[in-house]
């Protein structure tokens, strides 16, 4: 049933689809970022994907486009699941990569988009309150990017041992 939904998506938006696959049993569609909002609205409105399960991103360092924002959707009526991916390019030392926000479609995306901004530095246009959620505001950098070292700490406070 998810495969049927995937086929309907491909039929409805043939120009927006970059590729599809069903590896490991998950039906996936990679779409272009400019068509994101149209596709998402159609998926919610016509195909009944009213539940946004998960919103995350992956950093494929060394590949262009570098980031992929991944949406997992579910239809509460039929139980079918779909994964939609959007590839986002990132310019070195340039402005943050930007994607349209789906908060207006699924309010569940609010904090998940904030987390993607926090961890990867991908901005969401139209998000009501895009600020860091897991890290503190003074933190510089986006930790889940592959070029952020795992142990690079930016401490807010430390003990002063100079008196010993």
């Amino acid at each position: 049933m998810s495969k049927a939904d995937l086929d309907k998506l491909v039929a409805q938006f043939p120009s927006a689809i970059v590729s599809t696959h069903s590896k490991c049993g998950d039906d996936t569609a990679v779409i272009r970022s400019e068509n994101l909002l149209d596709v998402m609205r159609w998926l919610k409105g016509s195909l009944g994907f009213d539940f946004l399960v998960d919103l995350t991103a992956v950093d494929y360092l060394g590949r262009d486009p570098r980031f992929e924002v991944v949406y997992h959707l579910r239809s509460m009526q039929s139980g079918s699941r779909l994964r939609v991916k959007v590839q986002v390019a990132c310019v070195e030392d340039g402005p943050n990569p930007t994607v349209d926000s789906v908060v207006a479609i699924w309010p569940a995306a609010n904090w998940q988009e904030r987390e993607v901004w926090d961890m990867f530095g991908i901005k969401f246009a139209g998000h009501p309150d895009l600020r860091r959620v897991l890290m503190y505001e003074e933190f510089i950098g986006h930790p889940l990017r592959k070029d952020y070292p795992k142990e690079k700490r930016q401490p807010l406070i430390r003990r002063d041992y100079s008196m010993e």
């Binding site: 490991c24 399960v53 997992h72 959620v133």
Partner: protein
Amino acid sequence: MAHSPPSNSGQAARTGTSTGPQKMVFGMPTPDEIVSGAARELRSRPQFPPGFGEGQDADDDAPLPTEPMTINMGPSHPAMHGTVRIILTVDGETVKEADVQVGYLHRCFEKEAEYATYTQVFPYTDRLNYVSPLLNNVGFAMAAEKLLGISDKIPERAQFIRVIVGEISRITDHLTCVGASGMEVGAFTPFLWMIKCREWLWELLEELTGARLTHSYVRIGGVAADLTDNFSARLREVLAKCREAMVDVEKLIVKNRIFRDRMDGVAVISAEEAIAYGWTGPCLRSTGVPYDVRKDHPYLVYDRFDFDVPVGSTGDNYDRFAVRMEEIRQSMRILEQAMEQIPAGPFKLDDPRISMPPKSQVYNTIEGMIGHFKQIVDGVKIPPSEAYSYTEGGNGELGFYLVSDGTGRPYRCHVRAPCFILMQSVPKLIIGSGVADIIPTFGMINMIGGECDR
């Protein structure tokens, strides 16, 4: 010392402002009036400052002027569930705005997972939802097996064992949630009884896995060790005792006026809003939506068991509590059926690329030793792919999105944390209610810091 006529000072101290309607009920008599005996008359008559009540609304019910106050709650607070900071703007006792800030336990699970082999990630998954660690273990193992494509090759005994330990973990999760929430609204005895039940279950799991809380028992391809010989008998004993304790707890709090007043009708959410906000698990089921991953997308051997999914009606705190209590009973049903139906057989998939060879081979054969070495150093090599696998965690749909790149370490491991998504709608639940309603709401959402912040 002359006593001036009643001034604004008392009224200003009461409201914090110096403007507003003058309200003074009794005035202090001057010393002359005391001496002259007129004080007795004065005391019986209210004294008003001159000009009072003229041209003003002398209505006693007019509200005093107030300003909203910003209070910080957390990040260290008595609610035992997790470390979270809520910046509240309150008007009197009513919450006007709430800014929930999480991340105080962000231990970088996703970054650590990229540097650890698949088997080394299991201890990190224990510490995600640390009250039901085996459910996280099972979720991650299933994600890795989905990537490998061996989900249907896991031995049946291993699947039954995963279901059994998973359901025990779910019971401990709900026991802790109900007990701690009860304690937060003042019911300390049920807390002690639920912790007592939890101790029995932890002792059982300690016999089986070696640890009380952070078991790391599940492996890719099965589980780490077989069930102990007397596991079935001990489990039956423990479940019988837990059932009695639960009856006792219900006698104490279900009809208790204080508990019901604090939980009934508090933090109500409708089913449509809950779905829009991404709710899953007992919280979603309390609004009336019967979505349970074990029933809707059966995994492991859940389709062989006969159990019900408790569903609430109003979506308030009491429904969440009741759904959790009933889920404990349904988990016990599953456990009894699982212990009857469990077959004999291997507890781990016997594939040298995936599971470690038994120690007798490691120490006696060269293949075993090399296999062991490669497993530890390189890990389970999974060909490049991506998979999202979902199970029913203690709080809802616990999903693991794994991307592999051909090495033995995940390229990306993302956890779909159910209570992270629940927490984003907490402002919606508490705005408009009193400050005291935050505590039972927060308790019944069951936010576990390790899972929310990962």
